[in-house]
Chain length 245, copies 2
Amino acid sequence: MSVQVTGISGIPLIQKGDDLPAIICRNTTFEDEDILCIASTIVSKAKGYTRALADITPSPDALRISGLTKEDPRFIQAILDSSTEIIQEYPFILSEVPCGHVGVRAGVDNSNIEGENIIILPKDPSAECREIRDSIKKITGKNVGVIVTDTCGRAFRRGQCGNAIGWAGMTAIRDFRGDHDLFGLELEITEEAVVDEIAAFSNFIMGESNNGIPAVKFSGCGTWKGHDSLYFTKEEDLIRKAMKR
Amino acid sequence: MSVQVTGISGIPLIQKGDDLPAIICRNTTFEDEDILCIASTIVSKAKGYTRALADITPSPDALRISGLTKEDPRFIQAILDSSTEIIQEYPFILSEVPCGHVGVRAGVDNSNIEGENIIILPKDPSAECREIRDSIKKITGKNVGVIVTDTCGRAFRRGQCGNAIGWAGMTAIRDFRGDHDLFGLELEITEEAVVDEIAAFSNFIMGESNNGIPAVKFSGCGTWKGHDSLYFTKEEDLIRKAMKR
């Protein structure tokens, strides 16, 4: 298997109302089964999922946490507003967001945006992926898989990696259960989180800071079978249980 | 940036004593700055980092944990022998291994090996990478980065992804601290775990079970600056602290 991975250059600074699929299609070509990874930042900016700090009034909880983290209480309030469950408050807020993703500061971001504004994650990133996939189909006639990515820290390991927070046109997990190993032993527990593996490498191509490559195309990944249960339920999640204890 | 990612086919079942770099170089060509990802399984098999279950006598601790996990007590003993710190015993052993990696069952593997034998992780995977890198340089004259990968579960998210457990010819982390975002704001905390992002996608190309593609070549990744502190110290590691509490 050989896969070509290409950073899509030429994408301008995205503004609210911009037609992201049209802009991307002007800067690359697609074939059926290509996979497009898009940084959540530009999805949120195109859709206007941003907030002005001046419009936010911090709650007593936000003021209390802000005393611990030394961050702007309005920024903390935006994180609380974006979260469905707070797992840890300090030294940084770790929380679950509506789609099931668990991330630092609920993915609320004050970088790569003008002035005293913040970017918040799309509430339903997979719905955004389906919409982008449908638009690309209309523009190009091609069936393209779409992944929305965000960067996250990890347990036990320093540094951020790209994660998938939404996807369309593929399953999140490639499921090998029932397959056999090289010696015929049946594999019982092998579920591979392929959307995260693809998102991770797309983040390598995007880079960070001022690179300005918020979209990456994968050609040649093929297809797979599996399921979409990417997130542990609270009952299954041993690490969440330990942190809430 | 455009990167070509190629699964290296034609690698036979690896036996103890096999010259892995020579076998890989017979099945692909390299250019300077290419990155080669190799599954830890074949590094361990080539070097004889395997054990026969029949040779292992379980300790009282292994017998006690085996009563909880319902796994072979000799298999549990091999995990304990491979671990420097046990973080969790049940429902599966989660532990640190000598190189600093934290993984399920210390990476001890009873799949893809003949008979009642198990594969254990290399004790110093980065030393294995340096050796492979040096051998490839001797054979081809090319400077190739090398990553040894293993598959691991994650916090909060279902499914395994490829992780880097050793590397040579690059730094583990690409360090953007001091860089500026698109609007000139200085980035304070962006350290990107690029070896894990590359290892993750190599695992997608390798597949699991019976694919038989244990090595993947990346061409066009370029170079970066950073550091090698991929693992949190115990003091920094909030999740480990919560699990040990």
